[in-house]
């Protein structure tokens, strides 16, 4: 039982990072209907920029997080203006291939700058703490608290602000939002910036938690992010939080009781099964028979 609870605790820490990344992915999908395969690169860019600047900011974790978020936001802005807007009106799959190309570019530009070898932060992980039945390091707790805070802020943003209302309108029907006087293009751009910021922060949290990271950090995390997003329902921010929880727990529990090398195999098989039987997420009763992008 103790093993199980420790496992659940680690799963929750994984789920927290996954939730950050997946919420960003799903928000961006909701407004622009783009499956962004370069999403992982937001995480990687955030992680690396925080790495470059950590000495300048005297190893301050909070500053590192802000720097990572800012870098991710900048990446979201650039990607939206330079690529996504220019592919407007093209089919979803064409845009997907384009973002895959962007992912290849970003990943290798980072490799040219930082080299292929892994790097790591110098932040202390902190000691182990017993919180209720769980066992977490200080940085685990920080990540979980931060994820909850971000989730809360996004909830308030979506429900209580004009910007959030506009996001919801655009995600339901862009054309209708446009004729109602909502500047859809600007809202989409701002959402990409927001998604980039959240993803950049997630990249920082991920890099800090796994210890060492390389240029493939984000791309390797992308499919896990997509799995969590699909589990929660593509384009549904609140469902995505639940999806991240499910995926985080599944990989930790499956990994602990088989072999940690196979934990991602389980995650990706879960993705395939979800796609086949619950393509709209596990929280939706009715599942469409034929899924169209």
């Amino acid at each position: 039982m103790t093993t199980f609870l420790v496992t659940v605790g680690v799963g929750l820490a994984t789920a927290a990072i996954l939730a950050l990344s997946a919420v960003a992915f799903t928000l961006q999908y909701a407004v622009s209907r783009v499956v962004n395969f370069a999403h992982g690169e937001f995480l990687t860019i955030g992680a690396y920029v925080a790495y470059s600047t950590q000495a300048a900011f005297h190893q301050n974790v909070a500053v590192g997080a802000v720097v990572a978020a800012a870098a991710g936001a900048a990446a979201g802005l650039v990607l939206n203006i330079a690529v996504i807007e220019r592919f407007r009106g093209r089919t979803a799959i064409t845009v997907l291939i384009a973002t895959l190309g962007v992912a290849l570019i970003a990943e290798n530009v980072l490799e040219m700058i930082y080299g292929a070898a892994n790097v790591s932060y110098g932040y202390p992980q902190g000691g182990l703490h017993h919180v209720g039945p769980f066992l977490w390091t200080t940085s685990d707790i920080e990540v979980i608290v931060a994820a909850l805070a971000v989730a809360g802020l996004i909830y308030l943003l979506l429900q209580r602000t004009r910007f959030g209302k506009a996001i919801r309108a655009v995600s339901q029907d862009r054309a209708l939002a446009q004729v109602s006087g909502i500047p859809a293009r600007r809202i989409i751009l701002q959402t990409w910036i927001l998604a980039g910021a959240v993803a950049g922060f997630a990249g920082f949290a991920l890099a800090d938690t796994v210890g060492t990271f390389g240029p493939l950090l984000g791309f390797n995390f992308l499919l896990l992010t997509i799995t969590a997003t699909v589990a929660g329902g593509l384009g549904r921010p609140y469902g995505t939080l639940g999806g991240a929880l499910i995926v985080g727990l599944v990989i930790q529990i499956a990994g602990t009781y088989t072999d940690s090398a196979y934990e991602l195999v389980f995650a990706f098989l879960l993705l395939v099964v979800l796609m086949l039987f619950r393509p709209n997420g596990v929280f939706v009763r009715r599942s469409a028979v034929a899924v169209r992008a």
């Binding site: 499956v35 690529v83 220019r86 592919f87 093209r90 089919t91 979803a92 799959i93 064409t94 997907l96 291939i97 384009a98 895959l100 190309g101 962007v102 992912a103 290849l104 570019i105 990943e107 290798n108 530009v109 490799e111 040219m112 080299g115 292929a116 499919l223 997509i226 799995t227 699909v230 072999d259 090398a261 196979y262 991602l264 195999v265 990706f268 098989l269 993705l271 395939v272 796609m275 086949l276 393509p279 028979v289 034929a290 899924v291 169209r292 992008a293």
Partner: protein, 372 residues
């Protein structure tokens, strides 16, 4: 000999690309699992021909078949795997959902092969297929490599002729009609799933063949040889050459693999950073992919619309009750024979538009149908 090896690799990849183009170019399914079929074809060719594993090396089967029989069996095995994957994935999944699912499936397969050693010896991979049949053919090492290049090019030519023929056949046109508008094709009685499924199996067979040839070409195979990035280069090559056009696909592969990759091999890398040049090459490939998609999605060679050599469909009455419909409509409306002819002609036009791409607007061939 360096160029022999370069051209051989391009030839093998061109066979793979022809298969991939049948799936992506003709039916419009963006399959990210496709490189997995090359990998499986390669792995199976190894384990069927290199004999029992010597510990600590581990792998399944471990027969010592002649290499041609091994490749043939490997193709069969790959088609069997594709039959399962295709039956599941092609049934309902389209567009981005298909792409995500195939990426999930191939990633699961990749991690399984990498970590589960008894299958194909994990990340160390399998090796030991060095110029099979060299002594029987009484060739030198270089002579064997040149002979192998000729074999690859002949197989490529055969694959090209087959694909080209299929492309112009009613089957090829049916696939394109499915790509352009799945619902319309289904409404005109095309068996959408079965058409896609057969195309998928055919593509996978070509990938399996390419895998078998790849096994002989590199004589060792491990998970480093088939990361998802590799497939992206093949997609870029198809896009450059001309999606849906077999000749364009081959030209694209040779342009990208020989022109591009070989030229960029001489990019400068500082001694302390050996990965700089290869990374820059990947950046250029990514740029090429995005720019081609943006500015010339039809590639160097545009896809050629199917030509129906039979009698004009407009002049041919449709069978059964549907065929009688235009005259019935005309009779109901009380019109003369001229009106009936006009009605019949428009029905025929709609039908031909559903079959070939004769009436489709320019450039639509590069977008995917069924993703609205």
């Amino acid at each position: 000999m360096y160029w022999v090896s370069v051209v051989t690799e391009a030839g093998v990849i061109a066979i793979l690309a022809l298969g991939l183009d049948v799936v992506w170019g003709w039916t419009g399914d963006f399959d990210l699992a496709f490189y997995g079929y090359l990998a499986l074809g390669s792995y199976f060719t190894f384990v069927l021909s290199i004999g029992k594993p010597v510990p600590p090396v581990q792998y399944i089967i471990g027969w010592r078949l002649p290499v041609l029989a091994a490749i043939a069996l490997a193709v069969v095995a790959v088609v069997c795997v594709a039959a399962v994957v295709g039956a599941i994935a092609l049934r309902n999944l389209r567009g981005i959902y298909f792409a995500i699912t195939t990426l999930g499936a191939v990633s699961a397969l990749y991690l399984l092969v990498e970590n589960y050693t008894p299958l194909f010896n994990g990340y160390n991979g399998v090796y030991g297929l060095i110029n099979p049949g060299q002594s029987a053919l009484n060739l030198t090492y270089d002579g064997y490599r040149i002979a192998f290049l000729v074999v690859v090019l002949v197989l490529l030519l055969l694959a090209y002729l087959l694909v080209q023929r299929l492309s112009r056949s009613p089957f090829g046109r049916m696939l394109r009609s499915v790509r352009e508008d799945e619902r319309a094709a289904a409404a005109y009685g095309r068996p959408v799933f079965s058409a896609k499924y057969r195309a998928y199996l055919f593509g996978a067979a070509l990938a399996g063949l390419a895998g078998g040839l790849f096994a002989i070409f590199i004589s060792a195979f491990n998970t480093g040889a088939w990361s998802p990035q590799e497939l992206l280069v093949v997609y870029a090559a198809i896009l450059v050459g001309g999606r849906g056009n077999p000749r364009g696909v081959i030209v694209g592969v040779f342009v990208v693999y020989i022109g591009f990759i070989e030229l960029t091999r001489y990019l400068p890398s500082p001694a302390s950073r050996p990965e700089f040049g290869p990374a820059l090459r990947q950046v250029l490939i990514g740029l090429m992919l995005v720019l081609m998609l943006k500015f010339r999605p039809e590639g160097i060679f545009r896809e050629r619309p199917g030509v129906d050599r039979g009698p004009r469909p407009a002049g041919r009455p449709l069978p059964g009750r549907i065929g009688a419909l235009p005259s019935l409509i005309a009779a109901r409306a009380g019109g003369g024979p001229a009106q009936a002819r006009a009605a019949s002609a428009s029905a025929g036009d709609a039908r031909s538009a559903g079959l070939g791409r004769d009436g489709a607007p320019e450039g639509t061939g590069c977008e995917d149908g069924g993703s609205g």
